[in-house]
Structures are given as structure tokens and as C-alpha cells.
Symmetry: C2
Subunit: 345 residues, 2 copies
């Protein structure tokens, strides 16, 4: 089906466009009153993730409310470990928790992987199909996955952490087993993203949320090669790599077979461009806290950001939007991007 | 009093030395059995910080046990907010908590600052004096303070945070008040460090622990100028700036009136040197998780790090040593540095 607004896809493919497309990481979530109302009526976060028509409804809410140029399927990166055999819980105000964690080679051996694991996630594919119907060709739908290292970090650590020292410890003392688990994750993520694409994803994004706690040497060894493998395996749709805190790996991402590279808010766009090279489209990277400003100031800060990126840019924040961000300021961000025009067009 | 081992000070001043000096951030702490034993006998962390002979004992423990080339006074960065009128608690397994936080201009106005605040911290100066006696001229004693932005972040947020979005929000919506508080903090830190120097500190280090959550633009506005002011005010002893996550500000630190710049473990030493320029000594930066490796591997990884720094280097980790690090591996780190010899010497 031809999309009415395909600005995101044209930009991701490197075509010349009239203005940058805009969406926000975590746009489907607590910033929206309609999300909070729906969420309050449910038993928990996982009910929302696992019920296709609800996930679809929540995915489309920001499209209707904010008029963004892309939807991103409402889900969680931790559905992958669960599909592999390591269930997670989402603890109110504390975040994710794995009652069991990976401790040994036997634990890794026991995990499903590849299509066997990806096939457990029918509810995600159903949600994509339902979303596609609701979107009715208005804008593209983004699918996503956590990166192998980030999922590994949760599976070893059991929860969020300031240091992820249990997960990092495993890299130093059980290097071989670490690679076994990263391999299994990579195979599963590839099967999962391909299934997402079959069910309606027009672009896919890899989130390496805990990239920044690895040293550059460890990142080169335990994260980048697996992201590279995913990029090489996905050729159906454009692919975005967003590795938070991994400014030191931008040169490496620049050489990967991906279309878009996300920048977090600590990277000055001109330096991001210099590191990545000329080949890729950049995505990002306003400081999410800039949206605590009044709408007029948000518009100014957004305009500044757009000018520093110049072109070949998908406008976004440098991180997921924070739940307590005022809706008017979110709208001011979206509108400022949509009012922008490139000079050469 | 002339020091028996003044390697740290000679290195910090840029003199040519035979090998790098070595110490570890958080070396006085839970990695040592003698610390854990003492700590278990006390009512809480603050009793240790506030009792000079105990703080001195704990400061000297790693000197005796590890043979490091410098001691760092056992204390906490949050003594400064408390001296200014905002008391903190240290909650077991959760970290620092401020029962009251800064919310308004009136809250800021009420705070003590400069010498008035620094004079509240007699117990720290007494601890420095007692430590000096115990060290008896063996090695230099390091004094430290949190940077204005990092202390500001805790005083607004009330505790640690993944995003410090309350503190950052204040920067965007109350810029003028933010600068007022940062000014007061800066005056207090200067008075405090001068008092520490009078009471025995041979070098002082500024910790900007939450540098990395600011955007480069915010860092330039709300953190770097205040660190610069502190560096300019302290001319009695060498000064080290360690701003975790602030790879983007290294050029700026390179121009400040400081002697040493600390690098966290995400910065490749050669890139750190390039950004900082030739003028400063660098400190760091082994991944703290590398010390989970067996002692022989720690020795290898340490030797690699020393070679990438070359010279003009104070060996350390890229972050405080983690509490569950095996003591044998900590010793392997210290010994590997102490066995190293620069080729030109």
C-alpha cells in the first residue's frame, strides 16, 4: 500500500526531501493523557504489550494527538529474552526485573533461539497487523529490537543497574559463553525483525541502550559485530542503529550496512556527522529535558538543532521522551520541525 | 615535611618520572576486609565520615594493604550541601537521599556559602590532620570536592537518578536561579578546598560525577565555567578535574588552569590526549570491571593501558573501584603499574 506520508522512508533512503521527518522515541506512552487513562484500566504494563488490539491502539495515539511522521509499535525490548525462555516482570516505578538470570553455560544452552524463539512472539506480529489497519497508510510504522549486548546486559544483571557490573564481569571471565549468548540473541533478533517486517514494519530500529557502559575495546568485541550482523541480514527495509552513549563507536556504525544512525543528546551534530561520515542519515538529538521549557523556547531550541544538522536528518530527541514532559512542549517540538523547510528545496 | 614517595606530585607537576604513580578512586572502602569490619561496628556511613580518627584510619587502610602511591581522604561529596544547610542521609543499598530539596529562590537564598559554609566542616579538616599524622610523610594525601553541577544535581533531585530530569529541568526553566545556586556552590567549594589544603591535602581533585547527563551546550553553560573558576582560585597545590561522561568537554578542560585531567573508561587514551592537548597530565582509565578478571589477566590489561597512555600519566581506574572487586586483582593492578618503567628513564 502506498503511504500518504512517506517522508521518513524517503529520508532514510537518502533521498532529497523538503523538511526532516519527526517522531519521538517513547511517543506512545505516559506523555499522552489517553495512554495514562488506558493504562490505569489495566492490570499492568505487560497486559498492554501482550494484547494486540491494545498495543495497536496505544501505537496510534501519538499519531492522532501529535501528528508525527512515523508510528513505532508499542512493545518492550525484553520480549526477546522472554521468548528465549527467560521471563521478565515490569515492576511499577522500579522497572524491569528478571526473577531468573543467566549464570552458566547450561542456562545459555537451555534458551530457545532464532525462529524457534521468534515464533513465540505472535502477539507482537498481531499488534503490527492491527496497527497497520488503524494507520490505513497514513504514515510508516517502525519496528524495533534491543541490541544483543543490551538484552544480554539485562539477562545477566536481572534488572537495570548503574554499572551493569555483573553483566560486564561475565564478559571478562566467561568470554566464550558470552559470545554463545550474543550469537543466540543475534539469531533471534534477526528472525524477529524479519517477522516484524512481514507483518507491517516499514523501517526497523536497533536500540543499544546500554552501549555507553562498555569500554570502546569491549564494545568492539561484544556489541558492534553483532549489530553489524543484524544490519547485514536485514535488507527488506531501512534500518536504524541507536546506541546510547556509544559516541566512540560512531565511525564503526558509519561503515555498517545500515541507513540511519541515531545520536544521543551528548553528541554535537557536527561532530556526529564527522565521525559517521557522509554516507548515512542521522537521527536525533535534542536533550529530552529541553522539552520542559515553555513551547516558544522549545521551538527555538528545535530550530537551532535543525540548523546544526543541516540535511540528511530525522528529527527526534536524543533519548526517549520523559514521562512528565508537558504535552504542549512536545507539540511545539513536532510543529517546529514540520514548519522547517530546507533551503535547497 | 618532605615526602618519602612524592611520585604523584612530581607527575602532576609535569616532571619527568621513572614510572606512573597509581591509586584507585574509592580505594578506601568496601574492597578492603578491614574497612568492612570497621564499618560493621558502626551505626552508619555518616558516623565514619564525621568521626575524624575513624575517617583517618579508613583513609590509611589501602595505603597499608595495597601500597598505593597516594591516599585520598575518606569523605563524601555531599558534606558540602549539608554544610550549606541541606542535610543528606545515606540509605543502605540505595545511596544518598536529601529529605528536603531545592525548589525555589527562597530555598537558595537561605543556604550558607563560602567560608560560612566551609567552616561547618571542621570534622573533615580534623580528619585530614589525623591522616597526615598516620601517613607520616610516606605518600601524598589527596583532598576532593564534588563539582558545582554534580552537587546541584543532588540538591535538586534529592537522590541519584538515571536522568536527573528534575535538576536538568531547573536549568531550562529557572536559568537565573540555577546560576545563583551554582555560584554559591562554587564559593563554598573554593573555601572548602583551601581549608583542606591548609590541613594537609597535597593535591585536590574535583569530581563532576554527573557531567555526562548534560548536553554539551548545557555543560558549557552550567558546569565548565564553575570548574574553571575553582581551578583559577586554587594555586596552592596541583588540581585534577575528573568529569565522568564529559568526553565532549575535554578540549575545554585542556585550556583550564588545572594540572591533571581524569578520563573515564569510555575514552581511548590516545583520543583523550588529542582532545586535551599536550599541556596536561592524564589520569585513568582502566574499565573497573577489568578487575573482575584473574590477577594475571589484570596485569596484562593494565600493561596494555600503560602503553597506550605512554607518559604524563597517573594510573587509576576510569571510575571508582566497585565494592565487590576481588582484592587480589586490585593488588595485581597496583603491582603491574609499580613494575612498569618508562623507556626514557
Amino acid at each position: 500500500m502506498a503511504l500518504k506520508n512517506d517522508l521518513l522512508l524517503r529520508t532514510a533512503k537518502g533521498e532529497s526531501v523538503e523538511r526532516p521527518p519527526v517522531w519521538l522515541m517513547r511517543q506512545a506512552g505516559r506523555i499522552l493523557p489517553q495512554y495514562r487513562a488506558l493504562r490505569a484500566s489495566l492490570s499492568g504494563f505487560k497486559e498492554l504489550v501482550e494484547t494486540p488490539h491494545l498495543a495497536a491502539e496505544v501505537t496510534v495515539q501519538p499519531v492522532d494527538e501529535l501528528g508525527v511522521d512515523a508510528a513505532i509499535i508499542f512493545s518492550d525490548i525484553l520480549v526477546i529474552p522472554e521468548a528465549m525462555g527467560l521471563p521478565y516482570e515490569m515492576v511499577e516505578k522500579r522497572g524491569p526485573l528478571f526473577p531468573e538470570t543467566i549464570k552458566s553455560g547450561a542456562d545459555i544452552k537451555r534458551l530457545l533461539s532464532g525462529a524457534d524463539a521468534a515464533n513465540e512472539l505472535g502477539y507482537v506480529y498481531d499488534a503490527l497487523q492491527e496497527t497497520t489497519k488503524l494507520l490505513d497508510g497514513r504514515i510508516p510504522l517502525i519496528g524495533f529490537s534491543g541490541a544483543p549486548w543490551t538484552l544480554f546486559a539485562y539477562m545477566l544483571e536481572g534488572s537495570g543497574s548503574k554499572t551493569f557490573s555483573k553483566a560486564k564481569r561475565f564478559l571478562y571471565i566467561e568470554e566464550k559463553l558470552a559470545h554463545q549468548l550474543l550469537e543466540k540473541l543475534t539469531e533471534t533478533i534477526i528472525a524477529y525483525l524479519k517477522e516484524k517486517i512481514k507483518n507491517g514494519a516499514d523501517l526497523v530500529q536497533i536500540f543499544d541502550s546500554w552501549a555507553g557502559i562498555l569500554s570502546p575495546a569491549s564494545y568492539k568485541r561484544f556489541s558492534a559485530p553483532y549489530i553489524k550482523a543484524i544490519c547485514e541480514a536485514i535488507d527488506e527495509v531501512p534500518i536504524t542503529v541507536f546506541a546510547k552513549g556509544a559516541w566512540f563507536a560512531l565511525e564503526e556504525f558509519g561503515k555498517m550496512d545500515c541507513n540511519v544512525i541515531g545520536l544521543d543528546w551528548t553528541i554535537v551534530p557536527s561532530e556526529g556527522r564527522q565521525r559517521v561520515g557522509t554516507d548515512k542519515v542521522l537521527q536525533g538529538n535534542l536533550d529530552p529535558c529541553a522539552l520542559y521549557s515553555a513551547p516558544e523556547k522549545v521551538a527555538q531550541l528545535t530550530e537551532q538543532m535543525l540548523n546544526t544538522f543541516g540535511g540528511r536528518h530525522i528529527a527526534n530527541l536524543g533519548h526517549g521522551v520523559y514521562p512528565d514532559t508537558p504535552l504542549d512542549s512536545v507539540k511545539a517540538f513536532v510543529h517546529a520541525v514540520q514548519a522547517h523547510r530546507y533551503k535547497n528545496n
